[in-house]
């Protein structure tokens, strides 16, 4: 079985994230980045599925679309234990929205002949969480999404999804698109052996032409949404802080709630 994890390179959430002033897109080049933490759960799921298999020809490939530095996302996946990587990189991709990104991923997944496509629940930057559904739509494959528990049983993939109103069991048949939540597992850390081994693993670099796509189909000019204004949120004005050392904290709190008409 060919397992492919779609992994995104994102700006580090703990660093200063910003927009490029010239075109209002997320600055992915001028800031520190890494594999989206939420995609680590997808990598872990893929590795677990492979390890639980019969050891046959199951292989895990990390697929990422993004600028040069995005190769780091592939590398992290390989260090965790994936077998191979594919990095789709092309200047024309900059500014692609979710619709265009899903197009690039779908073409690459078709070329890879993926049986099981694994996504995280969303990226830590854009956070739309829509790309798995779009890829499923484009490839005409079933999608079981937001799994907090995953079992693969022959050709059947079954997940538990803890939704807002119910806990559901959802299943579909391979080939299939899967997304997992951060409840699904505990992602492993790359071991020293894993880090060394990753250096020898094959990583292919594909351009748009390799996927039979043209620059017009992707990137900022193809984006169907346009940011008209970006405003930094004004810092919150400093509040009142009291201590409960003398036991007056609760009274102060209730007074605050009362003055602000919350009672």
């Amino acid at each position: 079985m060919k397992i492919v994890v779609c992994a995104k390179f994102v700006p580090d959430a703990t660093a200063d994230r910003r927009f490029r002033s010239e075109d209002n897109t997320v600055d992915r080049a001028g800031v520190d980045g890494l594999l989206s933490e939420l995609d680590e759960y997808a990598v872990e799921t893929a590795l677990t599925v492979k390890e639980a298999g019969d050891g046959g020809d199951d292989a895990v490939t990390i697929l990422t679309v993004g600028p040069e530095q995005a190769a780091d996302a592939v590398k992290k996946g390989l260090q965790m234990g994936a077998d191979a990587g594919v990095h789709v990189v092309d200047d024309a991709i900059h500014g692609s929205d979710a619709v265009a990104t899903s197009l690039i991923l779908s073409k690459a997944l078709a070329k890879l002949e993926a049986d099981l496509v694994v996504f995280g629940m969303g990226s830590t930057d854009g956070g739309m969480g829509v790309v798995p559904a779009m890829v499923s739509e484009r490839l005409g494959l079933p999608a079981v999404t937001l799994g907090s528990e995953v079992t693969v049983d022959g050709q059947t993939v079954r997940i538990r999804r803890d939704g807002d109103t119910a806990s559901e069991t959802i299943e579909g048949t391979l080939p299939l698109v899967l997304s997992v939540s951060d409840q699904a597992n505990e992602p492993r850390y790359p071991s020293f052996k894993g880090i060394m081994a990753a250096k020898k693993k094959p990583v292919e670099t594909w351009s748009l032409a390799d996927l039979e796509l043209t620059p017009e189909q992707v990137g900022g000019s193809s984006a169907w949404t346009e940011v008209v204004e970006v405003t930094a949120r004004p810092p919150r004005s400093a509040g009142t802080i009291v201590t409960d050392e003398d036991g007056s904290g609760a009274a102060g709190l209730v007074e605050f709630l009362s003055t602000n008409k919350f009672l």
């Binding site: 959430a13 703990t14 994230r17 939420l38 929205d97 979710a98 956070g127 739309m128 969480g129 790309v131 559904a133 779009m134 499923s136 739509e137 494959l141 079933p142 999608a143 079981v144 999404t145 937001l146 803890d162 939704g163 807002d164 109103t165 119910a166 806990s167 559901e168 959802i170 299943e171 048949t173 299939l176 939540s181 951060d182 984006a223 169907w224 949404t225 346009e226 940011v227 008209v228 970006v230 405003t231 930094a232 949120r233 919150r236 509040g239 009142t240 802080i241 201590t243 409960d244 050392e245 036991g247 904290g249 609760a250 009274a251 709190l253 209730v254 605050f256 709630l257 919350f262 009672l263």
Partner: protein
């Protein structure tokens, strides 16, 4: 005037508050046409009329509820082909976003998710990067598809008496591939829905596993209960109540964080709350950078006393 499709969010005919918000927003853009999937359209009719739906399109094909979202997206595509709406509005929850994603691919249209405001244009407002930026956008291609977060508008009544039109949809076999084989409804708590609540009281690792004081304080204020991921991961509170990047994003009038340090991933889910209050025994906790009012102290002492006082004042 142009039609604006609103996908009704309901449970067995009981319309959720978010639908009233969507209908209110739809009236800024055109004439709201409500699309109702499943049973119970007659029960929903008064609420849909109250908020200005000019027409209700009812879809009762059983395939729509048995499978995951793909059939619903197909159905909406067929409705859109007939109605030719100028925009499509859907609630921004997990299911709504997936329906919208599929529809965007089917209709070759731009998609905006998690809007916190939508004005004529349509011009949407989103809150991004843990609430640190506000972004205004528009859709430049196809039929604008917008998923809208709870509390994005205050529902305004505009009484109409909409007709119900039954609409037949055909669902392809390709859309019937992901099945729901079991569903265990979550127990009702009697508290307000987390994403819709005006007041939320959340507990974190600092509760030490006892959510009693959190729940009691919440109940005295008529609030919903939330939790940090540390509390959820420890098994102290169900994941459905997690606030933050990988939980719910909330924007209530008042958010009370008790025993929560204020990590960036938690902030991402609550930073846009109107008023923020924290109770934390560590004066250096980052949550205090956000608060309008903070108490440095032990939540196990402060909250029970405050609960008593609130209950006394309210009675």
């Amino acid at each position: 005037m142009s039609n604006v499709l609103v996908l009704v969010d309901h449970s067995a005919g009981t319309v959720r508050k978010t639908t009233a918000e969507l209908l209110t927003i739809a009236r800024r853009l055109g004439e709201p046409v409500a699309v109702f999937i499943g049973d119970g359209v007659q029960d929903a009719l008064p609420a849909l009329g109250q908020y200005g739906a000019t027409k209700v399109i009812a879809l009762t094909n059983p395939d729509l509820s048995q499978y995951l979202v793909a059939p619903k997206a197909e159905a909406l595509q067929q409705v859109a082909a007939k109605i030719e709406p100028s925009a499509i509005l859907i609630s921004s929850n997990a299911e709504g976003k997936e329906i919208a994603a599929r529809l965007a691919v089917k209709l070759d249209s731009g998609l905006i998710t998690d809007a916190v405001d939508v004005q004529a244009g349509p011009v949407t407002t989103q809150s991004v990067f843990a609430g640190n930026f506000t972004v205004q956008s528009k859709i430049t291609h196809g039929t604008p598809i917008i998923t809208v977060k709870p509390n994005a508008a205050t529902p305004e009544a505009a009484e109409t008496s909409p007709e119900v039109e039954e609409f037949d949809v055909t669902i392809s076999d390709a859309a019937k591939t992901a099945r729901i084989t079991d569903s265990k409804p979550r127990e009702a708590t009697g508290r307000p829905e987390l994403t819709e609540a005006a007041i939320i009281v959340s507990g974190g690792r600092g509760t030490g596993g006892d959510f009693g004081p959190i729940e009691a304080f919440a109940d005295s204020l008529g609030a919903a209960v939330g939790a940090s991921r540390a509390a959820v991961d420890s098994g102290w509170y169900p994941h459905a109540y997690q606030v933050g990047q990988t939980g719910k994003t909330v924007s209530p009038q008042l958010y009370v964080a008790a025993g929560i340090s204020g990590a960036i991933q938690h902030r991402a889910g609550m930073q846009t709350s109107k008023t923020i209050v924290a109770v934390n025994k560590d004066p250096e906790a980052p949550i205090f950078e956000l608060v309008d009012f903070g108490v440095v102290g032990d939540l196990h002492k402060v909250l029970p006393t405050a609960t008593e006082e609130v209950t006394k004042r309210k009675s």
